[in-house]
Symmetry: C2
Subunit: 237 residues, 2 copies
């Protein structure tokens, strides 16, 4: 077994910011699988042309190539069933719904809060590509988008309500122990942290304590990664 | 074993409209457990005083009394493990998050769409209680709330996006077979159907086909229940 993944990076090769790449790394760590990563900037499509795919992450497992973070998770869970991230077929099915709840409701305000910070951590060619594609998608400049970050933080606070209340009722989003629901949301916070010092959560938010606990629990993968501090902002939403 | 549940009813004893009672009935049916229900109107708190609780559902299982739909589901799953609604501990943990995503995002626009219809199906004492408590909660009349139902339908369409896309990728919200995630959302549609003919979904929505399939699959419990048709509205959001 030799698991290798191409991992999206900023101008510094060790600044890894893709939430989808983070998800795969977190899942591999949960499963105690060694995973070797190769940093790749946005505009280097040639290095992954062998996969007939243009987005990261791309995983190779020996002679097998797997693209798309969700397919990679399915591959890892099927091939390496020890330390599952989903304890049953319906847990994996539900995780798809939770993934989409995060993508539709949480990632939007989160991205808008740090979108200029992402840009500012990219190599010049990547930065130009990122600005062009994102400004076209949102119909606004990166500066204007991130300029509204105080309101995005309020929107994020609202979007996190179901997660917040869940964490008042049980230790983890997956229940009594860490599972895929936790890793799905946490990957988004690792994304933000990798490029931005903007404080997304207040210290009295149960999501804040959960994020800190998971950051510590994941060990060197997260604690040694290049990024900013998760620290107390002291504001109130 | 004798499972009995007090079930919220309208002016007609057979019109059962509580989404939380529906959830327990759907879970019991999924688990192939016979469940005897006793209709109870909103304002009859005396009949459930023995449970030291003021809301339905209330379950009795022989000499044991269990209140709160979530606690009742945990009881049923623990005591009668055959035909589980959650295949693992993390599936049950994730279901709490999904339940809260539905309560925070879906149930609001759904309730506002049918809130006057609920009122109009209640016995006089219940109707007065319902109007007073709900108008205080929302700061608006039931007529004004339901009067905005076209915009509530648009909000509902948006809130259902993660569910819709999940159903484009897999047969059920719980994956390859029906599970608790499906029953959680479906209970809300059974609630609406019991009191209102307002068309919440368009026929080309994947959620519409899913709802129909589940309605049929649940058999007599749903098909024989008092309510309105789930039928094609022919509008577009």
């Amino acid at each position: 077994m030799a698991l290798k993944m191409y991992d999206l990076c900023g101008q510094e090769p060790e600044r890894r910011f893709s939430p989808y790449c983070w998800l795969v790394k977190l899942v591999a760590a949960h499963k105690q699988l060694p995973l070797e990563t190769t940093p790749l900037p946005f505009t280097d499509k040639a290095s992954i042309a062998f996969a007939d795919w243009k987005q990261l992450p791309v995983l190779t497992d020996g002679d097998t190539t797997v693209v798309d973070s969700w397919q990679i998770i399915q591959h890892l869970e099927a091939q390496y069933p020890a330390h599952p991230v989903a304890g049953s077929a319906d847990a994996m099915g539900q995780a798809m719904l939770i993934k989409l709840c995060i993508e539709f409701n949480v990632m939007g305000p989160l991205l808008r809060s740090v979108i200029l910070d992402i840009h500012d951590h990219l190599a010049p060619a990547d930065a130009a590509y990122f600005r062009e594609t994102r400004e076209a998608r949102f119909g606004a400049t990166l500066e204007d988008l991130q300029g509204g970050r105080e309101s995005h933080r309020v929107a994020l606070y609202g979007a996190l309500a179901p997660f917040r209340v869940t964490l008042k009722r049980q230790a983890w989003l997956s229940g009594g122990s860490v599972g895929l629901a936790d890793l799905l949301l946490f990957a988004s916070f690792m994304w933000a942290r990798s490029v931005s010092d903007f404080q997304l959560l207040n210290a009295d938010d149960p999501v804040y304590a959960w994020r800190d606990a998971l950051f510590t629990q994941c060990g060197a993968l997260t604690t040694d990664s290049v990024g900013y501090e998760f620290s107390d902002a002291g504001y109130s939403v």
